[in-house]
Amino acid sequence: MSLIEVKNLQKIYEDDVETPALNGVSFKVEKGEFIAIMGPSGSGKSTLLNILGFLDKPTKGDYLFENKSMNEYTNDELAQIRNKKMGFIFQSFNLLPRTNVFENVKLPLVYSGIEDNLWDEMVNKAIDAVGLSHRTVFESTKLSGGEKQRVAIARALILKPDVIFADEPTGNLDSKSGQKIMEIIQRLNEEYGHTIILITHETYTAEHAQRIIKIIDGAIESDVKVEHQHHATDHFEK
């Protein structure tokens, strides 16, 4: 059974003009896979990821998450799945301003229904996993870009989701911080078994994944296994 299966996904944005963004995309993602989605700007990568993350709905086609069509879930159930089974990492971090690292990482717990006496330990563990223990009470706005993205990763992984979606997580970072982020993401996949779907347009970054899906003009152009997967050899500094 696949974790994710999309069948002939189509998306047409209808504002003033009709913009076709996806023209029939089909693929499967198995549990534990690390997939990179590549493609030129405007090819529909983000559109696809938003649909996969239940943040948007396709115009046509079907999306099965854990073998159940997204149309069969209620809005509250979708929110539940986003909370417990999915994690999001955005290009622009999206941390809460005027809020420290701890509070930012805690955010998913608030909507999880987990008893709040367990929160502190979970948050500290997640912060530890991205090597930011020394920044726990730092205001999010005072962090460097790389640190911000690590906070976002900690927030994404705190509830041990089945799949983590990352939309150009290194796009706003210099190559060194970007490398660090990729190391962490790779470790999430290899050591913790999280399924990863990552958007990037750098081939080097994409080659951290096991499989690369190339999209052009809203359609899959290629879907190939990575021959020489890059490995983050040196691990995290604390």
Binding site: N50, G53, L55, D56, N75, D76, A79, Q80, R82, N83, K84, F88, F90, N94, L96, R98, L107, P108, V110, Y111, S112, G113, E115, D116, R155
Partner: protein, 413 residues
């Protein structure tokens, strides 16, 4: 858990935007303060007037000339009415006419100045008979009250109030001395004990002489300004009032009660009239103050809309990581309610303190026996209403927040 978290978040948000928050709730604060003050002072004034009325005595009935005043012109009529005469008193005294009448006393009064040697003082002259001591609970400090014989004989005798004694005689002996008023020389036979200002009439500033003397020599009138009647018991007051009306209508040949040339005041009647008037006034003023709550509510809605727009990305993020529409709705509603309830609370404290200060000033400097009243009902109502204002005016912005599309919200710059 979410509630606790939302409450903390809301508190932190209010704290982070201190000046904006305080400006936003100003309307609510002013509204609730005004309502609290109106209610507190209104109730205080009512209590004050009622306690003064109570000094009249619950068995006492006052008959006044003229029609029941319904406006200023009617009041003037009462001042100059001459419909109450000696024969009315005689008729009322008859057991067959007013069986439950225990005491009856004519009353004339006027203000005049009195002199003793070089001292002069402006005071109120009451022409009464010796029953006044019992009807108004007067206490003699020195000497005696004049007698029924003095009244019959139109004696030039006077009993003076404590303030009058102080002003005219200082510490020297007053009994036996003669004071002059309206060209008449009056011998002081008694001095009253100090009564204070707790009653409708300031007895300390008054002098009492036989009504016959006052009519004949001082005012030159043949009628009375009032007839004071006391019923034999409180239960018989209303029956006595009816008997008096029938008797007087007979005496004055009146068939149509609309054309009465007298009217009757009782403690109960005055109290209910005062209560009605002050309650209506208080309610009206409170309603006016409530308008500012409405204005305050619109201010809250405005600021909440701004806040929702400002925090669009935050809303998008929260939804992306699992917040339901209900979660977002309660978060923003709670913020609005917290804002207004805080405003309400400040308003209650402020309103109560200002009312307390006012009552201090009134009792200290205006010499009123004003008692501060904390309007418990208004306080609870104020807190409830301000929270409701937050709920009502926060609902629209909160719904807007809850219904935001997460992707568009996340893309918002």
């Amino acid at each position: 858990m979410i509630f606790k978290y939302n409450l903390k978040t809301a508190l932190r948000g209010l704290e982070a935007n201190k000046s904006r928050s305080s400006l936003t709730i100003l309307g609510i604060v002013i509204g609730i303060t005004a309502i609290m003050m109106v209610m507190s002072l209104g109730e205080g004034a009512q209590n004050l007037i009622l306690s003064q009325i109570q000094t009249i005595g619950s068995k006492t009935i006052a008959i006044l000339p003229g029609r029941q005043p319904k406006g200023i012109m009617d009041s003037l009529g009462t001042m100059f009415g001459d419909s109450l005469k000696e024969r009315d008193v005689e008729a009322l005294k008859k057991k067959s006419n007013v069986p439950n009448l225990a005491k009856i006393m004519p009353l004339v009064f006027g203000s005049a100045s009195a002199t003793y040697q070089n001292e002069s003082y402006r005071l109120t002259i009451f022409g009464v008979d010796d029953l006044v001591v019992k009807i108004y609970d007067l206490e003699i400090e020195n000497g005696d009250f004049f007698t029924g014989e003095d009244v019959k004989g139109r004696a030039d005798v006077v009993v003076i109030g404590s303030k009058v004694k102080e002003e005219l005689f200082g510490s020297s002996e007053a009994i036996g001395q003669k004071i002059k008023s309206k060209g008449r020389s009056l011998r002081v036979v008694g001095v009253l004990k100090k009564k204070g200002s707790g009653s409708m009439v300031n007895f300390d500033d008054a002098v009492f002489i036989p009504y016959s003397t006052a009519q004949q020599y001082l005012f030159g009138i043949k009628y009375y300004h009032r007839i004071i009647v006391e019923a034999d018991s409180e239960n018989n007051v209303s029956r006595t009032v009816e008997d008096i009306k029938i008797t007087l209508r007979n005496m004055h040949n009146i068939t149509d009660p609309e054309k009465d040339d007298f009217y009757i005041e009782t403690q109960e009647g005055m109290m209910s009239m005062v209560s009605t008037v002050t309650s209506a006034l208080t309610l009206f003023l409170a309603a006016v103050a409530a308008i500012s709550l409405l204005v305050g509510g619109v201010g809250i809605m405005n600021i909440m809309l701004v806040s929702v727009t400002e925090r669009t990305r935050e809303i998008g993020l929260r939804k992306a990581i699992g917040a339901t529409e209900k979660n977002i709705l309660t978060q923003f509603l709670l913020e609005a309610v917290l804002l207004t309830a805080t405003g309400g609370f400040i308003g209650i404290v402020l309103g109560a303190s200002l009312s307390f200060l006012t009552s201090l000033v009134l009792s200290k400097y205006a010499n009123l026996e004003w008692v501060f009243v904390f309007p418990v009902l208004a306080a609870f109502l104020g807190l409830g209403v301000s929270a409701a204002v937050g709920l009502v005016f926060g609902l629209y912005p909160a719904r807007k927040a809850a219904q935001k599309n997460p992707i568009e919200a996340l893309r918002y710059e």
